[in-house]
């Protein structure tokens, strides 16, 4: 058995690395990680083309694919097959996030109320410029102290 000890990172494909960086940093408040393929050594070693952004304690790698991915419809916000990344904010800031998405002209679905018994409170669903599905929510269990990993370095 693998007995993995935690999540390291996930990777999504974006059509325009700079546009994606702007979106994750300016709209979602991420900080910039490393980029690969802008140095001679990367080219010589045939590395993949990617950047990364760090959302609090989450490392999201942004890969640049060799071909265009099929884009979801403009009004589709929840994910064609349910796949999405969901990030949490404290309940008192949730309204602020909704306004921020409006200000940046990001289309969204919601906010949706989750059932009382669910650990989730409310969610809002939207996409990044390359059609990757995202969700922001507040959780009813936000005051529970889960052990948080922190990023020490990026690749």
């Amino acid at each position: 058995m693998a007995d993995v000890e935690g999540l390291s990172h996930s990777a999504i494909c974006v059509h325009d690395l700079r546009e994606a960086e702007d979106f994750y940093c300016n709209v979602l408040g991420a900080r910039l990680g490393n980029r690969v393929n802008f140095k001679t050594d990367d080219a010589i070693r045939g590395r993949s083309v990617h950047g990364s952004v760090i959302l609090e304690d989450y490392l999201l790698a942004l890969m640049v694919p060799r071909d265009f991915m099929p884009m979801p419809a403009d009004d589709e916000h929840r994910g064609a097959h349910g796949f999405r990344h969901a990030f949490r904010v404290p309940r008192e800031r949730f309204g602020e996030i909704v306004s921020s998405l409006r200000t940046h002209g990001v289309g969204f679905a919601g906010p949706t109320d989750h059932p009382e018994k669910s650990p989730f409170g409310q969610s809002i669903y939207f996409k990044d410029p390359s059609g990757n599905f995202l969700e922001i929510l507040w959780r009813r269990d936000e005051n529970v102290d889960f052990r948080k990993p922190y990023i020490t370095g990026v690749g």
């Binding site: 700079r18 001679t40 265009f68």
Partner: protein
């Protein structure tokens, strides 16, 4: 900054290259050793007042296999005359394409006797059009770190980004066309990358070579990612050839002296030149790729 003031390129035979640039491109011979710190040199002029300086070197660094090149503006009608002269000398004209949208249709390239790649682009019309080169439109160089280069040229020198290559899927889609033999791309714009992971079984992938274009005034500088490690000039050497001269006014010059020093750029000067020199003052600096630059105030 106002634009490119001069380009210094290396040639092995001054007389031969003077004749080449004068006869084929219509440059005016302005004399020898007019500009300081170019070794034994010959200065050529054109309608815009910019200079092309040929600096004599036993082994000229033309970097012909890379994206390095010099682009001169010309009236499209004059380009035909140039094509004829090149044909008479059996010099091949290459119809490469590059990635920069502004160069769409300017695919006319050839090499000087030392391998310096010359591109003829559609020049901006001037009030006194002579036949031949109207001005220096852009020049390209290599750098081993494009993020550092962008920081230097944009944040420190204050130039604006005109175009980037290698950040978007569409660049990779176009590179695949090249990989399939369907596009004639200029050297330095594309690469075959060998994937290093065992899973990919060392597959070769056609990719765009990462590029950055920065603009200032009417001029553009192209910075290509170096695909090989090349010997840099010695650390202590700040003045050398080949070199690109960037022109600015006095006030900007003083500000740049300060900004470059604050950012720990390798500097020499500022130097006030003798009154007989066409340049009033110069600050010599190396960019992150160890390319020689000269920031100058013209008279």
């Amino acid at each position: 900054m106002d634009g490119i003031s001069h380009l210094v390129i290396e040639v092995s035979d001054l007389k031969r290259s003077e004749e080449f640039y004068h006869d084929i491109l219509g440059f005016e011979l302005l004399g020898q050793d007019q500009i300081p710190n170019c070794g034994r040199n010959s200065v050529l002029g054109c309608a815009s007042g910019q200079w092309l300086i040929l600096s004599e070197s036993a082994e000229p660094r033309s970097l012909a296999e890379t994206g390095v090149h010099q682009a001169y503006g010309m009236l499209p009608s004059d380009r035909e005359g140039v094509a004829k002269k090149l044909a008479e000398r059996s010099i091949v004209v290459h119809r490469y394409k590059e990635d920069r949208p502004a160069e769409e249709g300017d695919n006319f390239y050839f090499h000087d006797p030392d391998g310096n790649r010359i591109q003829s682009v559609t020049g901006k019309t001037v009030s006194d059009p002579r036949h031949g080169v109207l001005g220096i439109d852009h020049a390209a160089m290599e750098c081993h770190d494009l993020e550092w280069a962008e920081d230097f040229y944009v944040r420190v020198l204050g130039l604006t980004v005109e175009h980037r290559v290698g950040w978007r899927t569409e660049d990779y889609v176009r590179a695949k066309l090249w990989g399939d033999g369907k596009a004639n791309m200029a050297p330095g714009t594309r690469r075959w990358d060998q994937r290093y992971t065992v899973m990919e079984q060392k597959r070769l992938l056609p990719r765009p070579n990462t590029q950055l274009y920065v603009q200032f005034g009417d001029s553009t500088l192209g910075i290509y990612l170096a695909t090989k490690h090349r010997q840099e000039p010695p650390e202590r050497q700040i003045v050398g050839t080949p070199r690109i001269g960037l022109r600015c006014g006095r006030a900007a010059f003083h500000r740049l002296v300060k900004v470059l020093a604050e950012n720990h750029a390798p500097l020499q000067g500022p130097v006030e030149h003798p009154l007989t020199t066409p340049i009033a003052a110069s600050l010599y600096v190396k960019d992150p790729g160890a390319n020689f630059l000269e920031i100058c105030v013209s008279k």
